[in-house]
């Protein structure tokens, strides 16, 4: 079977993974996260400069871990979008040069399909049909998935404003917690009371859209709470606020996901993307899935955030489905919607 090398450079992580027949053979990851920390968010030019330095070393490291040679690689898969334009171009340039030199096909992969496919590396093939909750730094979507390699992906609901991960990052900044916000809030929340503050659960009332999300009001509610306390000279209970905010996000995400499973008759729910690394999202999803008899699939934490293995996983599915490779002249698509896993 073909060994697929996946390349991911859509944001601040340079990822390379090698996958064959649904199995992860080896991968490597470099991150420019530390260089962005003082700016409180990813600076595209800094990220792109780091990708250029990291791409070939990551390929070599992934091959080394898998005990493989470049000549063993039978196909290249690359994140084509969505993502930062200047960062995507590094991965694309590298992928094309590898594909043309090795004489192997190039597959153009949607980054979010990669997040979903990450779970197959841990838990095997996806069922014929399931509900997926993609919660990442830039996206929050409830989907029904059929065959990821060939079928159109159906959106049941998306966020109307901020993505869940973006809300974590912004709230962390409000609370003065270090970047990146998701893991810092997760850690602070572990020491706080999730019921100390009653933050709003947007779009959960009767008559409101069942599957759409909104997190910008929640972020503003946290900001108001903090600012009022600061004006009164009161100490800000960072841990309680973090726990209460995290609880509100986990509550909305999981309640809507369970509802979707029931309405769409899905026996399995997959939760993927960077926010799927959140301990409360994972625990509450498990609790609520157990209560209604839905099987929950969440990738191990290191496969939740961006990585090259997930892109290779999609490439592997595409190869096995006999999908059409991309043209060597394909362009990156920084703001493409999720419709199909392949962007060829």
């Amino acid at each position: 079977m073909t060994i697929v090398m996946g390349i991911e450079t859509s944001c601040d992580e340079t990822g390379v993974g090698l996958v064959q027949d649904g199995k992860l053979l080896g991968d490597a990851l470099a991150s420019s996260m530390a260089e962005h920390a003082i700016f409180g968010g990813v600076v595209p030019e800094i990220a792109a400069r780091a990708h250029l330095q990291a791409i070939v070393p990551c390929v070599q490291q992934a091959l080394h871990k898998a005990d493989l040679d470049l000549r063993d690689v039978g196909a290249i898969a690359v994140t084509t979008g969505p993502g930062l334009a200047s960062s995507l171009q590094i991965g694309m340039a590298a992928a094309k040069a590898y594909a043309v030199t090795l004489g192997v096909p190039l597959f153009a992969v949607h980054h979010l399909a990669g997040h979903a496919a990450a779970d197959t590396l841990a838990h095997g093939p996806l069922p014929a049909q399931c509900v997926a909750l993609i919660v990442s730094g830039g996206h929050t979507s409830l989907l029904t998935l059929r065959d990821l390699a060939v079928d159109r992906i159906n959106h049941i609901g998306d966020t109307r404003d901020d993505a869940a991960g973006e809300a974590f990052d912004k709230v962390a900044r409000i609370l003065g917690l270090p970047y990146p916000g998701g893991p810092s809030i997760d850690a602070a929340a572990a020491k706080g009371d999730p019921h100390a503050f009653k933050f709003p659960r947007a779009l959960t009332g009767p008559g409101q859209p069942k599957y759409a999300f909104s997190f910008s009001g929640l972020k503003t509610a946290v900001a108001r709470t903090v600012e009022k306390m600061q004006l009164k000279g009161q100490p800000v209970p960072v841990e309680d606020i973090a726990a209460s905010f995290q609880e509100a996000v986990a509550d909305v995400l999981t309640s809507k996901a369970i509802l979707a499973c029931q309405e769409y008759g899905a026996a399995e729910l997959i939760v993927v993307g960077g926010v799927a690394a959140n301990s409360r999202v994972r625990a509450l999803a498990q609790e609520r899935c157990d209560a209604v008899g839905v099987e929950l699939r969440v990738p191990p934490i290191r496969l939740c955030t961006d990585n090259g293995a997930m892109i290779a996983a999609v490439g592997d599915l595409l190869v096995r489905a006999g999908a059409k490779p991309a043209s060597l002249n394909i362009s990156t698509t920084p703001s493409v919607q999720l419709e199909y896993a392949s962007l060829a």
Binding site: I38, F39, G40, G41, V43, E45, I46, A48, R49, H51, L52, Q53, I55, V56, V59, Q60, L70, A85, S86, Q89, I90, M92, A93, A94, K96, A97, Y98, A99, V100, T101, L102, R173, I174, T220, A223, R224, E227, K228, L231, L328, N329, I330, S331, T332
Partner: protein, 244 residues
């Protein structure tokens, strides 16, 4: 010596296969489109090899233009060059793009000259070269009018912002009477070179700039683009108020 040479530091996406011993360009492809670097570069390489019925394994070294040039396009060439070298197990060398342009221009000019490429943001990347094309200055980036002021013997008052590269000290050589490069043509008026000549980086010239390193079988060059500008980024200063 069969060399693969690439450059994406200007609006012209260039790839070519050259023979350094005979100083011949065996095949080359160029696309004049500043937004197509990542699209066309690898196809250009494949097309060159196909035209020559050569295999990738016939390539003995890879040379890539290291700029200076607009960042996103420049990196496409450097990333591709690094990958070609890695995938082929051949050495990778860099060449200053302005030096390559100068080498080509020197065949037509027999006096020192200015090379200027388009740096966007109404600026040019520039350097001054001898009649043989050898660099007499380091590469710089400047607004054409400031560069003119400097060429006229003054040190321009730039104000705050990014540091002016290379024009913060008075000029210490005779002022070139000729200018070449797409930036010199684009800004011919403000640079004061009405007869500026368009010269693009050519594969053979890129390989020739790196010829000594290739001949010496020098270790791989570091993958260091000549950015000359820092990333635009400002650290945030506190949260905005959300209270009415």
């Amino acid at each position: 010596m069969v060399i693969l040479a690439l450059d994406t530091a200007t609006a012209v996406v260039t790839a070519g296969i050259v023979d350094l011993e005979t100083s011949r360009t065996l095949a080359s492809r160029a696309t004049p489109d500043a937004h197509k670097h990542a699209e066309v570069l690898s196809s250009h390489v494949r097309d060159c090899l196909n035209e020559l019925s050569l295999a990738f394994t016939d390539i003995e070294a890879v040379v890539v233009g290291a700029g200076p040039g607009p960042f996103t396009g420049l990196r496409v060439g450097m990333a591709s060059g690094a990958v070609f070298a890695n995938a082929l197990g051949r050495p990778l060398y860099t060449a200053c793009t302005l030096d390559a342009i100068a080498l080509t221009a020197a065949t037509e000019l027999n006096e020192p000259f200015l090379v200027a490429t388009d740096a966007r943001r109404r600026e040019v990347y520039w350097s001054i070269h001898s009649a043989t094309g050898a660099p007499l200055t380091s590469p710089g980036v400047a607004k054409p009018s400031y560069l003119r002021t400097w060429l006229d013997g003054d040190v321009p008052d730039i104000g705050p912002g990014q540091p002016p590269v290379g024009i913060d000290q008075p000029i210490s050589m005779s002022v070139p009477r000729k200018a070449v490069g797409a930036g010199a043509v684009l800004h011919a008026d403000s640079l004061g070179y009405a007869d500026a000549m368009a010269v693009d980086p050519m594969p053979l010239a890129l390989a020739q700039v790196a010829a000594a390193k290739i001949a010496a079988k020098a270790p791989n060059d570091a993958l260091t683009p000549l950015y000359l500008r820092r990333p635009d980024a400002v650290a945030p200063n506190g949260n905005k108020s959300v209270l009415p």
